[in-house]
Amino acid sequence: MTAGPLDRARGPLTDVPDDGSPIAPPPDSGLPEDAALGADWGSARRRRTTGMGPRLGPIGWLRWGWRQLTSMRTALALLFLLAVASIPGSVLPQRGTDPIAVVDWIDGRPELGATLDRLGFFDVFVAPWFSAIYLLLFISLIGCVLPRIAAHWRAMRQPTPPAPRRLDRLAGATTWHTDDAGVLEAASTVLRAQRWRVTPGRDGEGAVGSLAAEKGFARETGNLLFHIALVLILVGVGLGAVFGWKGTVIVREGNGFANTLTQYDSFSPGRLASTEALPPFAFTMTDFDATFEREGSQRGAPRSFSAQLAYTPEPGAPVQSRVVTVNEPLRLDGAKVFLVGHGYAPHLRLTDASGRVVFDDTVVFLPQDGTFTSTGVLKAPDASPQLGFTAILAPTAIIDELGPRSVFPAPDNPGLFVSAFTGDLGLDDGVPSNVFQLETEDLEQLGLEGLAPGQSWELPDGAGTLEFVALERWASFTIAHDPGKALALAGSIAAILGLMLSLFVKRRRIWVRVDAAPSTQVLPHGASAPVTTGEDPSDGSISAPATVYRVQVAGLSRTEAADVVGEVQQLVVRLGGPVKEASS
């Protein structure tokens, strides 16, 4: 990391500045060990630079701006801003999910609606301001993570800093005396066996010396993995949006679909999606079935939908058969076919005044509520005179003060309530019109009638005959191709793994120092390997004075809530040191 003028503003808190990840408060700073935390990700350093603005040149300013953007505070602010910016998307209807509700909302409050619309509140998740927030957040994240990767790479290679001069203020600090010349060696063995990374100190020889042990690098590795994974997810989502495509189509029972652009009811390609070469599959829906709850408080709730498809993955291939249900899409090479909705399609046969059959097919009716009271229209420009019909279909029909409606979504007692119109339907002048709407203003109403399947209606004035042949169904399918999906999934899995490492692994250090105790040191009664210096009171004999060593062990946890004390104590006990009362 280059040391610019700003780096000098770094506070005295940090002792290993060059990797941006300060190691520890100096032992005699008197700070609690968690103070080391504040310096993680260089946040403390960055914060202190903010007062430095006025004396900077243009490059300095750029650098200052970059520091601001990649600072933890900015990241936090952007994180919350993103959360707040998402809220309108859940409160107001959104074009992406429910365009009709948006129109209704704006119609209800024209002025407010228009303003909000201009500001993008009905397309929140693609609005420029929303994109700006998350793009800034991700730039901040990348700017944060890249230097971190380099620093972590270096930190893993760098030896753990040697034991501070005074160990007694660190966590679990324990001192005892022994004559065991192998104690340092033993400490090293024990720690290595527990997969600590041990760095021998350079200060000493033989039995005297020190070591530094460190564990938990996976925490930072996981943290970096997690943040990189977030970028992967974003890239995956972006790839899907740019190169993917998605369309919906309504298919009536007995009818088919071939995967070409013209057959879709709606199609939304990504900006760079190649729509000329859609996968050439085709299918026919041979049957559709839906069941509903018949009893209890949930009466009418849907229970199962299934569409029976006969499909060919490509022209000329043998026809295969598959049931597609809500959670079981049809997976084809390059696309997936999802069942997303269904409704009724009455089969109507219209004979005009001259006795000619001008219409004989199923008509898609759109459900209006949970009981599938549905509406639809039939336009017969070929009839003479031209005929048009608007109709309400009720699968289980009743007529009450609210008019004809359905009381149950299954076709227990279907009723079709038709209004017939005649006049110029306005279809001949080539102006496109909504197939689900009939403009009745300029038409003459012929009459009203209710029909059950199999019944016919002789239209007034001998205008013809309308027959309700049978009640069929339709299903709607979303067909989607998303080339970024796999990457987003891989990113998600990596994110969870990284997160678990980063939250559950604790980074911590233990130092052991052995030095020669003053020669008059008398080992306290109860030490593990007591020695006698001079006269031994227990048997009165004289033995040669042995070298007595002072052993100091202490730890430092570099992360919040890590319990290094327990590990220090274990080590102490393994080395034959004193057992402490376990406190709290």
Partner: protein, 361 residues
């Protein structure tokens, strides 16, 4: 009697037990007289090298040779195992709040403690009954018993108490009992009064093994978020008591719960622990949505609020990682996160509609 009726019976019995547990915890709270020395002396137990075990030293009286040291090390290894066991036992041993004597021969004498212990037993009982209710419901319907809002709420109450009881195995958290029993009781009350659903069947979108994976992860996360939020609220009270000398109510509550730092740490650990699980729940939901609705993310209100909740808790973790934002500020963010979770749980189902609103409301 059908299994569904048995289930209802267990749920009612469980609610009664939670109510009694709540009363017991309340009595305990009222009856606990804060000891005058409850303040910060805690933890000042012997930490000087003077506290040396009498164990091996006695036998090693006069030996001075080098292999004696090796023998001493072998012995030490054995002792280390014993120490580990002792430390674990010590960790499990209960302490009441921040003050008072550890362990406790005088425990039986204090009425507050007795009531709290009764509260704990009742909570175990209530949770066991609720589990039985949920199992009966599952057997009756032949599927995971969280397929509609009613069942989801039962399972959430179970998760809240479950997380709390799991904590109680490792440390003394009886002081959390009051809030936890209240949270479970309220959740069950809403379930029984407003959300009751008598159908064993599922809507088509829920016919998937992801129901087990995604929803159970969300439920457990919710339970832990709730316990974390309860600890956060208590932290704010304790913190206020420590900062504001005149805050009498806070001080009187604070005298009955652990110190602010302990509470803060507990809240952090809980939230940090569940965050990966919540992340998993959101991702599992996305994978499921891909099969059910043809896209893995569509900004449905439930998805949006799951995302908001996730962002706020991510903000919480970041805030904690920055020294200046620990303590109170972080606590407030944690509570905002919990509020987002609640909005996602109730608000979206009740008001927003969207694809998730099938859950039986």
């Amino acid at each position: 009697m059908s299994l569904a009726q048995w289930s209802n019976l267990f749920v009612y019995a469980s609610m009664a037990m939670y109510a009694l547990a709540f009363i017991a915890f309340a009595v305990s709270f009222a009856a606990t007289r804060p000891s005058p020395d409850a303040a910060p002396v805690e933890g000042a137990v012997a930490s000087e090298p003077a506290a040396v075990s009498a164990g091996a030293g006695a036998t090693a009286g006069a030996v001075t040779t080098a292999d004696a040291a090796a023998r001493a090390r072998a012995e030490a290894r054995a002792r280390s195992a014993q120490l580990e066991a002792e430390m674990a036992a010590e960790a499990r041993r209960s302490r009441w709040g921040g003050g008072g004597a550890p362990g406790g021969s005088d425990e039986a004498l204090a009425p507050g403690r007795r009531a709290a212990n009764i509260g704990m037993s009742l909570t175990w009982l209530a949770t066991g009954l609720l589990l039985a209710g949920l199992v009966a419901r599952g057997l009756w319907s032949g599927r995971a018993p969280w397929g509609n809002m009613y069942e989801y709420s039962l399972a959430s109450a179970l998760a809240i108490s479950g997380v709390f009881l799991a904590f109680s195995l490792r440390r003394d958290v009886r002081w959390l009992g009051l809030l936890v029993s209240a949270a479970s009781l309220i959740t069950l009350g809403i379930a029984v009064l407003l959300l009751y659903n008598d159908s064993p069947q599922l809507v088509p979108a829920l016919h998937s093994y992801w129901l087990i994976i995604h929803v159970s992860a969300a439920i457990i996360s919710g339970g832990a978020f709730t316990v974390g939020a309860a600890a956060t609220v208590l932290y704010l009270i304790a913190d206020r008591a420590e900062r504001v000398p005149g805050a009498r109510i806070s001080r009187s509550i604070a005298a009955r719960i652990p110190d602010a730092t302990t509470l803060d740490t507990l809240a952090y650990r809980t939230n940090a622990f569940v965050f990966p699980l919540w992340t998993f729940a959101v991702i599992a939901g996305a994978i499921w949505a891909e099969d059910a609705w043809g896209r893995y993310w569509g900004w449905d209100p439930k998805e949006t609020w799951a995302f908001i909740t996730w962002l706020v808790y991510a903000g919480y973790l970041h805030a904690r990682a920055t020294a200046g934002w620990r303590g109170r500020k972080a606590a407030v963010i944690g509570l905002i996160g919990f509020a987002s979770f609640l909005i996602n749980y109730f608000g979206v189902n009740l008001f927003a509609g969207g694809l998730h609103s099938y859950a039986g409301l």
